[in-house]
């Protein structure tokens, strides 16, 4: 009898673990990019090449879903090695002091075509709440894995994240972040 109770309890405790699907960030099929105005006449485009993260999707109860992303600042790539080196220095990202850009969701709401995600965005040592639409989430099976994809675009002001004010001039204060990412699970 006692064994049966333990078995039932174990099954009941295990149920929540199966209710949500956990996906690892697929670095091969994802990209985190950005663009910022140059002298207010053109755009400078760049991307971060080293990103990791995790998506937990609860399709029955989206509020139990979560998204985390971690971006290595040193992986910044604007197709110009000298500029990348400057961006890593304290005039801009200060990668030795603030080596990562982090996002961790705090609230997820299911909406048509995806999720409305609110969370803490930490960059340059400053954490600010942000909300954006993460469109996607349809799961398919390909290349032996179950896969989902999401996309969003959000605008941030560098001055909100304590970037050096004297370095905001030639490069616009506002940066547009583009996240196109895929997640995968077995």
């Amino acid at each position: 009898m006692r064994r049966a109770v333990f078995a039932c309890a174990a099954v009941l405790l295990a149920i929540p673990a199966f209710a949500a699907d956990e996906y690892a960030y697929d670095g091969v099929h994802s990209s985190v990019g950005f663009k910022a105005r140059f002298l207010d006449i053109s755009w400078i485009h760049g991307r971060f090449n080293d990103v990791s993260g995790k998506f937990i999707l609860d399709r029955d109860d989206p509020s139990k879903s979560s998204f985390t992303l971690s971006i290595k600042v040193d992986s910044v790539d604007t197709a110009n090695a000298a500029r990348d080196e400057h961006l890593r220095q304290p005039d801009y990202f200060d990668s030795k002091q603030f080596p990562t850009i982090e996002f961790k969701s705090t609230k997820v709401k299911g909406v048509s075509g995806g999720y409305e995600v609110t969370g803490d965005f930490t960059m340059h040592g400053v954490t600010k709440p942000v909300t954006f639409m993460f469109l996607g989430g349809r799961e398919i099976t390909a290349m032996g894995k179950k896969r989902v994809g999401f996309a969003t675009e959000l605008k941030l002001k560098r001055s909100d994240f304590n970037f050096d004010k004297t370095a905001i001039g030639n490069i616009g204060d506002e940066a547009v972040i583009t996240i196109d990412c895929a997640g995968q699970r077995d």
Partner: protein, 328 residues
């Protein structure tokens, strides 16, 4: 980004504020001992703060970035260390012992603490600068040996340079060498990609020079060297300054003091007189700075300048016309 004019204007303001502050401290009675040392350091900090404020380049408080920690914690720590050293030395810092003959010597029996205080302050300074950075995280950087070497060398060199204050000139040559190092750092650090670091180095150079011009040389040899070590460490460990450049920027005050010591050991010989002379000691300090600036310009020309000025602008060929190209 701050331009050269902003740099220059802020540096002039820093010089003037440091000079005025040190003279105000002297008028207030801080003419010798630890008050004079504190006054000279406060003058440097005030000059740097005002110059930084004018240039719009003061880091926010609490200081989360290295240059902010240097200004808000590291240099005040160096000032306290120099003031303590002046107390323990017993002889009012920056003035000759014989000039104070007959005065009550405070803490004369604690002279052994003078180099110990400066050694400890050097280690603390490096630790403060690296606080919460990747350098102190496990597996954060591969250059841990360099960090230890930098801290140990700073701990050994600071007391050596500061002791120059006991010479007849009150350590002026060591202070001038520190100003030269800071001025060179103000050029080398931006050329390595960290413009704000160069601004702070320029302000420190101007402030130390202002304090010296105002007559506040007490403790300034040690404090000036601490400023050199601090801003160069920021440029090296957070900016793009190379290890060789960082070493060459820090070594001039040591060379200036070492030349004087070697000259002392040679006595009255001609070589000894030459090595003790101010021009020779300053020349010994400036040689490594010339080398580091030449190398920095070469590196800058190879990388950053070409990013700022595209090669097409250097060509004499006319700009391509899209219409003309399309009609071919």
């Amino acid at each position: 980004m701050s331009g050269p004019l902003t740099f220059g204007g802020a540096a002039i303001a820093a010089f003037a504020v440091a000079l005025a502050t040190v003279q105000a401290c002297r008028r207030a009675g801080a003419g010798g001992g630890w008050p004079a040392t504190a006054g000279a350091a406060i003058a440097v900090l005030a000059g740097t703060a005002v110059g930084g404020w004018l240039a719009g380049g003061l880091p926010p408080l609490p200081p989360r970035v290295a240059v902010g920690r240097l200004l808000a914690v590291g240099l005040p720590l160096a000032a306290v260390a120099e003031a303590l050293a002046a107390v323990f030395a017993g002889t009012p810092a920056g003035l000759h012992a014989e000039a104070h003959a007959g005065r009550v010597v405070v803490g004369g029996g604690l002279r052994w603490l003078v180099p110990a205080v400066r050694c400890l302050a050097a280690l603390l300074l490096v630790r403060v600068l690296l606080h919460d950075s990747v350098h102190l995280r496990i597996g954060g950087t591969a250059g841990r040996e360099e960090l230890v070497a930098a801290a140990v060398l700073a701990a050994l060199a600071w007391p050596f340079v500061a002791a120059d204050e006991r010479r007849a000139d009150g350590g002026v040559v060591a202070v001038l060498a520190a100003v030269a190092s800071l001025a060179a750092a103000a050029m080398a650090i931006p050329m390595a990609g960290y413009v704000k670091g160069g601004l702070v180095a320029a302000l420190l150079a101007a402030s130390v020079a202002g304090s010296l011009a105002g007559g506040g040389r007490a403790g300034l040899a040690g404090f000036g060297f601490a400023a050199v070590v601090g801003i160069v460490a920021v440029g090296r460990f957070f900016g793009g300054l190379s290890a060789v450049a960082a070493f060459l920027l820090c070594i001039p005050p040591v060379l200036a003091v070492a030349a004087g010591r070697v000259g002392d050991s040679l006595g009255a010989a001609a070589a000894g007189r030459l090595m003790r002379s101010t021009p020779y000691r300053l020349a010994a300090a400036i040689v490594p700075l010339v080398v580091v600036l030449a190398q920095s310009w070469s590196d800058f020309d190879r990388s950053f300048r070409r990013m700022l000025v595209p090669p097409a602008r250097a060509d004499a060929s006319p700009a391509p016309s899209i219409l003309r190209e399309n009609s071919r």
